[in-house]
């Protein structure tokens, strides 16, 4: 990789609006407030912004957001698709523009009224494209889609419901320490987990993420620009990022290729290690996309923190790296994984409510059963 230190992307600002079941405003409105908050955190204004990137699923386009905010001109704009896979790829799109010198200050946001706005799966009654072979048969909710894959993983490696319960309980513990988390005051035990109702077997209620209204944003600038700013907090340097799909990929219903035990993350991981020059042992804390608990053990094995099939045993072991320190999508808030990115910045700044000591590198991932990506946020520059 050719690296221009002056152009290294830096997260200079971040902001999260309070999470709720009903945020009381449009996603356009909450998104604008999140971006303004992140700019303020960085000591910047809308006049500094020359790029905006968003999730394809964000109903507000970059241009509409630029109008709402009064951005004078966008030199760079774009969007990344695939639901919860889009988080790190959207940040990566902004980073690539900064590294190439196409933009100096790019904002990335996700605002979503996933609670008050209803369930998107409940209103899609025409099944077109890949959906025609899935939705009429009952594979409608994201939980239905992943459940069939989870069964395959359990069968392949002997994973159990208790293995998934451990994930739910661990991240709930983090949420219990995070006053901003939706589940801050609700402890969870294995007894609670095993007694909860089924949603899409083998997944029960607590294997599923929350349904939340939330809005978050970050501001990325080039390192040479960050040096001129009087940042209120330490910068979080983007050491690298990678995207991946794998062959014959289908988002959420990745059933038709040769190997059902490989997610797109199996293709992201080697690229991320190559692009960053890092290895699993260099990572101090991870924020793993956790719309569903089984995504966590799969992450650890696909990124080489343990061997193939050993993800659940690794999660249960004392060696397991600390993950999802804000409570993640399972217990802090479900905002398509953007809270994981913001929590990654907090870990690098040293301000998490479940702070890991001396964080040099925090890895953040997108959803691993869709085309996805990952990135590494770091304390020190290249």
């Amino acid at each position: 990789m050719i690296r221009n230190k002056a152009r290294q992307p830096v997260v200079a600002g971040m902001h999260a609006l309070p999470y709720s079941k009903d945020i009381g405003m449009t996603e356009r409105h909450s998104g604008a407030l999140a971006i303004l908050g992140a700019l303020d955190d960085a000591g910047l204004t809308v006049n500094d912004v020359d790029g905006i990137c968003r999730y394809v699923w964000q109903p507000t386009t970059e241009m509409e957001m630029a109008r709402v905010l009064g951005v004078p001109n966008l030199k760079w704009f774009g969007a990344q698709d695939y639901g919860g896979g889009a988080g790190p790829p959207t940040v990566a799109l902004a980073c690539a523009a900064i590294e190439l010198g196409l933009a100096d200050c790019v904002v990335v946001w996700r605002s979503r009224n996933r609670s008050s706005g209803g369930r998107p799966w409940a209103g899609q009654m025409l099944a077109e494209g890949q959906d025609q072979f899935e939705r009429p048969f009952g594979i409608v909710r994201p939980a239905d889609g992943i459940a069939l894959l989870v069964r395959v993983w359990m069968n392949a490696w002997g994973w159990t419901r208790e293995d998934f319960g451990r994930v739910a309980i661990t991240v709930r513990g983090h949420a219990n320490r995070n006053p901003a988390a939706m589940m801050h005051q609700k402890p969870l035990t294995m007894e609670d987990y095993l007694a909860s109702r089924m949603i899409a077997e083998p997944l029960c209620l607590f294997d599923n993420c929350l349904e939340t209204d939330g809005a978050l944003a970050i501001v990325l600038v080039a390192a040479e620009r960050a040096a001129d700013l009087s940042l209120g907090a330490p910068p979080a340097y983007v050491t690298g990022y990678a995207l991946g799909s794998g062959p014959q990929v289908y988002a959420m219903t990745n059933y038709y290729g040769e190997d059902l035990t490989r997610s797109p993350n199996a293709f992201v991981a080697p690229e991320l290690w190559r692009n960053t020059g890092l290895k699993a042992a260099d990572i101090d804390v991870v924020q793993i996309y956790d719309a569903f608990t089984p995504q966590v053990p799969l992450f650890f094995q696909e990124f080489g923190f343990c061997g193939d099939g050993e993800g659940a045993a690794y999660v249960a072991s004392e060696d397991c790296l600390t993950y999802n320190t804000s409570g993640g999508g399972l217990s802090e808030a479900y905002v398509h994984g953007f809270n994981l990115i913001v929590e990654g910045v907090r870990q690098v700044r040293g301000v998490s409510t479940t702070q890991v000591d001396d964080v040099a590198h925090c890895l953040v991932t997108g959803g691993n059963v869709v085309p996805t990506g990952a990135l590494v946020l770091s304390k020190e520059p290249w």
Partner: protein
């Protein structure tokens, strides 16, 4: 926001033969006329050799369970009284490597109200093809446990 109808399959030029086959109670799977690869889901070109116009081959429909789930609330209104029912990922005996989605039904093609623990439901279990008419009158391939 929900409805008393199930999601409706919308065929396009690349998939219409499949749904025409379903209406005639024939399970048609595309196969490359050049390299012989089975193709699923349907598409206009063979992804292996890029030959156009895969042929639609009528297959027997016997299959094995590659995975399954059982659905519980909250579900679409149309299924509220029918859950739990089992949705299968099946691998076709006559089209190796082709996996498709279908519901678990009885011998008459009636959706079984059952959770994920009926006798015989297991990875690799043998299935036989049946035809189910859904709540909107749409015929769908479905499978019953065989043996």
């Amino acid at each position: 926001m929900s409805t008393a109808l199930p999601p409706k399959p919308v065929a396009d030029r690349d998939t219409q033969p499949f749904w025409d086959g379903v209406d005639a109670h024939r399970l048609l799977v595309p196969r490359c006329t050049s390299c012989g690869a089975w193709i699923w889901q349907p598409r206009p070109l063979c992804p292996r050799c890029h030959a156009p116009d895969p042929e639609w081959v009528s297959v027997g429909g016997n299959a094995r369970i590659a995975s399954w789930t059982a659905l519980h609330p909250p579900v679409l209104t149309v299924w509220a009284e029918q859950v739990p029912f089992v949705v299968l990922l099946v691998e076709l005996d006559d089209a190796p490597g082709v996996r498709m989605i279908g519901q678990l039904v009885d011998g008459d093609g009636t959706l079984l109200k059952t959770n994920g623990e009926p006798e015989g439901l297991a990875m690799g279990a043998q299935l036989a093809l049946r035809w189910r008419v859904d709540e909107a009158g749409q015929t769908l391939p479905a499978w019953m446990l065989a043996g």
